[in-house]
Amino acid sequence: MFEVSRGLIDLDMSFSSTVENIDRVDEEAMKFLARMGIEAEVFCIRLAVREGLLNAVNHGCCGDPNKIIKCGMRLKDNAVFVEINDGGCGFDWAAYMGKELKTFTSDSGRGLAIMRKYCTDIEYNTKGSRLFLRKEIGDRKVCANRVRKQGDIVVIKPGQDIVASMAEEFRHEIEPLMKECPSVVVIDLAGVEMVDSAGIGVLLSARTCANDSGSKLIVINASEDVCGVFKAIGLDQLFNLLSA
């Protein structure tokens, strides 16, 4: 069994406790991190999740494939949070925590050391059935650079017409970053020749998000035609429009 639910800034999975399913979680995690525009920390997060899951499969669920493991990942406060719940008797972390590996030649017992090295924070509940990992991340690139975050500034640069066929996907790329309350949001319309009503809808919802979070919104490089559309429907009053 393997169930997955992919949210805007989160990922939730439930699955039978097998090592094969660790590979599937890893695949989903990779796609999730790519969607979130995370690049530099991908290896660390993937490795730590694998080690957490190995402990859950081998210790928490004692290798019983009838047991179910839940794994959730979410992006919040410039960090990726991972929770692994094995619903079993738990992993006896206390027996390993703080202990260095006894000898090099031992061929097991490295999982916890790896997680501690590769995560910002790691915490088990007392029972050892729930593991929390947190990994801080740096600047992110989102979806082929259509949305970029540089420090506290979000730059939205579609580089293509903002029209119905791409509007929904574009909205999904923008929303998670707007939720992080950047101080400035720049919408760069270079290369945009056409904005239709669906596109305007996306830009308006970005404006609403910016207003809600107190971010400053600037629109730059709008072509003469696009400026004309904005003016015709009074959008130039709503957006801080700097023309090309």
């Binding site: 290896f43 090099f104 490295r110």
Partner: protein, 103 residues
């Protein structure tokens, strides 16, 4: 299935996939008889491998232990930057030669 090349006293094993829990048992079964043959040099070629987890590390160490018993050399080559970092962190490089992928 790993690609296995024998050239004189040297045996090269190329798994060609991530060395992780799900494949570890099979990989171990491939390596065990090769290590027992007592090669002068057993080379693990990690070209194309992007991930090695603690179980994979365990297999490498078990193989290293076995090859060392017959005074053979154990070398891991074409290691990606991330995996090289992991091997250094786990101090594997102090026990056998680990060579990073070129370029």
């Amino acid at each position: 299935m790993s690609e296995i090349t024998k050239d004189g006293d040297q045996t090269i094993v190329k798994p060609g996939q991530d060395v992780v829990a799900a494949m570890a048992e099979e990989f171990k079964n491939e390596l065990r008889p090769l290590a027992k043959e007592g090669p002068k040099e057993l080379v693990i070629d990690l070209e194309g491998v992007e991930m090695v987890d603690s179980v994979g590390i365990g297999v490498l160490i078990a193989t290293h232990n076995s090859v060392s018993k017959s005074d053979g050399k154990f070398i891991v080559i074409n290691v990606s930057k991330n995996i090289y970092g992991l091997f250094k962190t786990m101090r594997l490089d102090q026990h056998f030669k680990v060579m990073m992928v070129e370029g």
